[in-house]
Symmetry: C2
């Protein structure tokens, strides 16, 4: 594996009513080119991650829209896998690079969600569940079920759930691109409006607009962070087909593949951006990735082990919870954010974890400041 | 390049009101496994091509839906690029194979379109144009403009346009999976209902349901057709940004890349499945691919040079026009159909050509019965 992250860029995440889907793409393309200090024509291909521009914006040929920001129209394709679209687009780009098809490519993730009404957005997002088996169930409802069982099986508490949100909102204070810059107490999270018992509104990641981009290259780059490994796990689309729902097997598979490829142990990882679409999702992620034993993720969070300065820093960007979750952008933003912290010397070995649906698709990347 | 087409399968194309999106996927998965004579567990990954299941069927995690038909849940991703989604998914799969990530993968293309009303479908399909620059223009309207200019510049005639449809409906008689099994005369095509001057209803490919799948492998296979080359060209999303609209530069680029990779000349190609979303599109395709000089595609078709038995057989399946155009399935079906004709000994060297939008994305594959 010899892929370097030559540049990265993230737009502001938030309710960006003055920026169109196209504006967000354009800003991310210009931003990442500037960060990588390369000419646009050096980008040989573009991989675009997006979940539902066809629904949100009736834009059904987004790859071509992005290629149009280059005078040489690099070949492009869009990759989608619900909320894991970003990391799947990274994988497709990595395959093309490792195949020798291209030397330098751009991956851009984008979602423009806030032009739709809440009803429309709920309908669109629920489409990432299996509408044959779980008709009518929204994502908060599915994760609510998972949360109830996790609490029953492992004694995870309401205040442990809240501690995830408290931490991520605290971390987001350091990230100027984050959607929210507001601290909350455990009590505020625990007493916020109920959405799907026991999940409350402040357990949920927000609806967001935003884009993120990275430029990946197989050219020899000694001072840039590298992709050290990746893994891709899959599970049944719907929870109903699984024997266990408090562990996401897809994440376990993706993590073990990525760690094996990178030849590192999970305990060596210093920092991770994980898929905290709900507070319970972060607790499960840090367990399923292997950072903490099963059932102890809530306790680890509550006791500060995942806060900046702790044993392993989880979601320094603020995560989906506080940085925001423009769906197609999220997986790319995770890599963009961590690669900068590694380039800046804050960390030397990190992990990203991007999930689609209620654990059906899971992708893990490991990145570091040198080839190990 | 060492990729063999181990198996292929196409469902019936048509208005399949008794088959759901999921049913179509399931049939294609079972069909291609049976054709390839391998166990399901040998499929290491799945690449799913689909344009708009999120709009047509509110299914937003289609890759996970397809993985669910396997007990081992192979890792999967969805690839999209408007009507070129099928061929782009083939490319993504080929990159993964050539990178050594997998040895045997499935590519499945699917679209379930006929549950929507005509108004909904028109709205969804028009989203593949650039809604910022061409708001309100449908695909027939854009191709109508292209047709008018092609007729003016090159003297292409109304009856030459019709001869494309006559030929493809004739060819489809031999393809049991085709949506239409009905012959037409030039007069019937030319006098059918006007859609977007000069394009008439029988110049247009239909709205279709259907799925197609292939299994690709890098395992040594001496008796299976091989992928000999591929190319991927891109152009501006909207016609308004182009100096020339009667030639699709993206197709020229894709063809020259594919031919160079395969180390074959266009005149060696015996058969091609090209993207005839409208009759004019086939005329332009056989010119832009290099089968005939610019401006002579209409004449070549009218004089039988592209009919079975002619100089180069174009669209033996019936093409999009008569076989049908379930958008995400089309690019996969082209390869599935041709690979069978090569496996059966009818031809030894073929080409597929899949276009997204009005010439913005173009992908060409070259396949043959042995490594050249």
């Amino acid at each position: 594996m010899n892929i370097s992250i030559l540049g990265s860029y993230t737009t502001q995440f938030g309710e960006l009513w003055d920026q169109s889907l196209s504006d967000l793409c354009h800003e991310a393309v210009d931003g990442v080119l500037s960060d990588a200090r390369i000419e646009a024509k050096q980008v040989e291909a573009v991989f675009v991650a997006n979940k539902a521009a066809g629904n949100f914006e009736n834009q059904h040929h987004l790859n071509a829209l992005v290629s149009q920001f280059f005078s040489h129209f690099p070949p492009s394709m869009r990759i989608e896998g619900a909320c894991a679209s970003g990391a799947l687009a990274l994988l497709a780009a990595e395959y093309a690079l490792l195949a020798g098809q291209y030397e330098t490519v751009m991956v851009i993730g984008v979602e423009k969600m806030t032009d739709a009404t809440s009803e429309e957005t709920t309908h669109i997002l629920s489409g990432a569940a299996n509408n044959q088996n779980e008709w009518g169930s929204t994502f908060p409802a599915l994760y609510g079920l998972v949360t109830q069982l996790h609490m029953k099986q492992f004694g995870t508490t309401r205040s442990q759930l809240s501690s995830v949100a408290v931490k991520n909102h605290h971390h987001a204070l350091n990230n100027p691109k984050a959607q929210f810059h507001k601290e909350f107490t455990v009590e505020q999270i625990s007493n916020s409006q109920l959405v799907a018992d026991p999940l409350r509104i402040l357990d949920c990641s927000p609806i967001s607009d935003g884009a993120a981009a990275v430029i990946l290259t197989t050219r020899a780059m000694t001072k840039k962070p590298c992709i050290l490994g990746f893994g891709h796990g899959q599970d049944s689309l719907d929870l109903a087909h699984r024997e266990v729902i408090t562990t996401f097997a897809a994440t376990q598979k993706a993590a073990s593949q990525a760690l094996e490829k990178a030849k590192v142990a999970i305990k060596q990882i210093q920092v991770a951006e994980v898929h905290d679409c709900f507070t319970i999702a972060e607790i499960m992620a840090i367990e399923d990735l292997g950072f903490f034993p099963k059932g102890s993720g809530g306790h680890a969070t509550e006791t500060g082990k995942t806060t900046i300065g702790g044993k392993v820093v989880i979601n320094p960007s603020g995560g989906l919870k506080a940085c925001g979750h423009p769906v197609g952008a999220t997986g790319v933003k995770q890599l963009a954010y961590l690669s900068k912290t590694i380039e800046n010397g804050e960390y030397s070995l990190g992990l990203t974890h991007n999930v689609g649906g209620s654990g059906a698709t899971s992708v893990v990347h490991i990145l570091g400041n040198k080839k190990l």
